[in-house]
Homo-oligomer: 521 residues x 2
């Protein structure tokens, strides 16, 4: 198909695109174009897919809830082994929390330093909800919801279908960058392609807990993490599967709210209609804080929300619409947001009730009136929303609903003396959102390099999720750009998390090109 142009293939994945260039031969990087480098990596990879997938599965088999330090040490040790083999200089950084793995590979003559961030801890798992055990990585021949069947990795002969997916906790969030990195280093080396930058890696062992000691880790190691550009490799790619750079994130706060009934569970017959019902109190409290479209009803909540700049609005307008695709894929008829497109909704504060617990349902139901019910909220904040102020106005709102607020379990005396009592458990101090300018030199150079590979690169002013950017942004001037690599439908944080193999192959291509060419004049 010689008439096919780059633009015409823009919606194809990088891996597919590269199949069009079959005549490239390994040469020195200085003489190689972006596409020739990507092609070299591709050819190296197709011969070694089984080994790469096996390495990935092995890494995913390490349980990795950040609060279990023994598990995190085992993860760190395994990862350092993989990096040491490739000639990285590695060490553990630790400041009272889970381990961070630091690795560097200095390039003689390189004038610039690239710092790549990823994390190797994962969200807690509810094993009973997983189709396959979360720490027994399983390759499926299609997404689970499409009837995917398990494949024995060792039995595969020939090419791996790039639509196959590996299911395991942290497959998508966020162990894949480690595997992509080690194998692309091998690929560059096998092709005689040198690095154009000094490379530093910081692999976080407690990101899902909000990286509580990251700031201390940075402070304890002055200069160690200095770089010209920080690439944050976390979070899912755009739903269109087009490559993407993201220049901002939302911050957040977590709040658990508990409402109270009597001081002991009461028979719902003998006390029904009399004993306060904490589930009903919670229902009324939640509906006072948020309407059915997701709009937050707390006075002043939107006061400091930064409006989007014209260029940010333009970038959003240029993004492909994914609304119908999402509705079909996620089985949604009417999204929240009253018709505003998702790319704009994620630039606004969000109020998410993420969990609720009180008593049993189904066969665990008992005919009692509960003593308490707890809801867990995670609040997504945007630039200029100060976490302390958010706490203050939420507490004012709850008091306005007639509640007496405590921050520890209430005594009987407190319950007896106040019409309604609520416990607020602010879990961590929270963070504001952040946005990096798209106009800086590093940003412009990265955008240009990425566009050589994938002309329809998506530029996103703000992603919906949070990342531990504040610890860096508070301490250094380094521009921070988020480079998401996982498929958008990776089920991160939920059960049946997975990674689509094509995303791993594409990550190798991007890393290879950036390492080989970013530092070239």
């Amino acid at each position: 198909m010689p008439s096919r142009t780059l633009a015409a293939t823009a919606s194809l994945s990088i891996g597919t695109l590269l199949l069009l260039f079959t005549t490239a031969q390994p040469v020195l990087a200085q003489a190689m174009s972006t596409l020739e480098i990507a092609e070299a990596i591709h050819e190296y990879r197709v011969e070694r897919e089984q080994r790469i997938v096996q390495d990935f599965a092995e890494l995913l088999s390490f349980p990795n809830v950040a609060t279990n330090l023994d598990d995190m040490d085992a993860n760190a040790e395994h990862i350092m082994g993989l990096l040491d083999e490739r000639g990285f200089s590695t060490r553990v950084l630790q400041a009272g929390g889970a381990p961070y793995v630091y690795a560097e590979m200095m390039t003689p003559g390189a004038e610039e330093t690239l710092l790549i961030y990823a994390h190797f801890d994962g969200q807690p798992v509810q094993v009973e909800n997983w189709a396959y055990p979360p720490f027994q990585p399983t390759l499926l021949d299609a997404p689970l919801q499409d009837g995917g069947q398990a494949i024995d990795i060792a039995s595969v002969t020939g090419a791996f279908d790039p639509e196959w997916r590996i299911y395991a906790r942290s497959a998508g969030d966020d162990k894949m960058p480690v595997i992509a990195m080690i194998h692309v280093i091998d690929a560059l080396r096998a092709n005689g392609i040198g690095l154009s930058v000094n490379l530093k890696l910081l692999l976080d062992g407690e990101e899902e807990r909000g990286s509580p000691t990251l700031g201390q880790v940075i402070d304890d190691n002055p200069g160690l993490l200095d770089a010209d550009l920080l690439l944050f490799c976390d979070g899912p790619m755009h739903q269109s599967r087009r490559a993407q750079l993201v220049f901002g994130v939302r911050g957040g706060r977590t709040l658990d709210i508990t409402t109270y009934g009597a001081n002991r569970p009461l028979h719902s017959g003998h006390y029904g209609n009399w004993a306060p019902n904490p589930i009903m109190q919670m229902a009324y409290l939640l509906t006072s804080m948020r309407d059915e479209t997701g709009r937050i009803l707390i006075d002043g909540y939107y006061d400091n929300v930064a409006t989007l700049s014209e260029s940010e609005r333009a970038a959003i307008a240029a993004m492909p619409s994914i609304e119908e695709q999402l509705k079909d894929e996620l089985a949604v008829h009417t999204p929240e947001g009253a018709g505003t497109r998702i790319e704009e909704l994620v630039t606004l504060p969000a109020f998410n009730a993420r969990g609720i617990a009180g008593g049993g349902v189904g066969n665990q139901g008992r005919n009692i009136i509960l003593t308490e019910t707890t809801v867990s909220l995670n609040l997504r904040l945007v630039p200029n929303q100060q976490p302390d102020r958010i706490r203050r106005i939420i507490e004012e709102h709850i008091e306005g609903e007639g509640y007496y607020i405590v921050h520890e379990d209430p005594t009987d005396e407190i319950l007896r003396n106040h019409a309604k009592v609520v416990k607020l458990d602010w879990r961590g101090g929270g963070s504001s959102g952040l946005r990096t300018s798209m106009d800086g030199e590093m940003a412009q150079r990265l955008i240009a390099l990425m566009q050589e590979m994938t002309p329809d690169l998506i530029l996103t002013p703000t992603m919906g999720g949070g990342l531990p950017l504040n610890a860096f942004a508070d301490r250094m001037e380094t521009p921070i750009i988020v480079l998401p690599l996982a498929n958008h439908d990776n089920n991160q944080h939920g059960e049946n998390e997975n990674l689509r193999l094509q995303n791993l192959w594409d990550a190798m291509a991007v890393y290879g090109v950036v390492l080989a060419r970013f530092g070239q004049p």
Copy 2:
């Protein structure tokens, strides 16, 4: 204290009252007064408290969730052993569910038959919430919430403090009648006191499941349960601790409601403000159905509610007010019910959200938007409220809130094609409430006999809870009167269920007097 009269001691427990009569000697029942019989039982019991408590603890050590048939068989076998030793003729009745234990003791010359009902199954337990394991019965020297400490039953020498409590599942609900019965039979026999009635016992092994096969058990054994009076020994006594007879119960229905988000859990950052949130949907649905005082907002819900008769209103007005005691004991400032007294509130329909589940809270919290949230409701119904009509008007209400109703898990297609979807799981067919007239011959005779023992007997038109009376009421004319025996604060259905020993002693006295004197002309 010779000037002390019966009326002056009316607020004391039966056991304390009997201490005033110390000169009675065992004589034939025909020649003995009610108080002399009770005194004989008292004297027999004080010599054997340790043995009685040990027998109770042993019975309570059998796990007894009705769905575990092996456990229920073990309970039934043990109970039959206890009854066989006393000369009862026993057998298991079973009709596809858990076992029922039937026992009878015919009395030569007796013209009337008394059927006593109790149950030996218990509500499911959440072991982690119990201070002591629910099936390792533990005697405490005070209520748990007052700092009660464990006592080794075997090490007690001398009298057991009647305020001590035994903690275990089913201590209060409802294994105690078995223990009271076997020991009062021993006591009567030791004192040469004969029974005045034929005695039948029906001990239910699946009451907490709503006794699904009780109707079939009755149908399968025509005539076996014929009786002149059915005494239902279940439910807690009045909060004042005064003896009580109850002439009605509430019926009920159970409904689990599930609301839906997307078809897989979504990262709350990337999809927050867009994906439907099932917790919030549930909050809005609940608040549409019930106001903050407990008033049900569903159209037509109160249409068929029977108003109280004048005599029922008078009985309620004569009951002691327990409002302030309850508030202190349960640490409640403002009850539901908008100021109506509890005795009247329980004659009205109640809408109780008994449990809610969706996602995790605290350390189990994950930053996701859930796929679903389930609330479990138990609805208390009163006479003339038909369960089928209640189902219909609730479904109409939910449809009016914009929901598409399913009764099985919805497919992706259903979710995609409807703005809001709800699954309704009606658990069982439910039952109306029932009320027995206070003016019948059996009722009048029992009231008079009880008043001889305890002049301030409380007469309650309707208790708040439900009991499986419909299965009997639908099949026989026998008047049904509820005789509650457990302390009101027994935590039934919740964790840390318990029985106060004085209630066991009082149950023995009541059983003894009724068995010895009810059938006398």
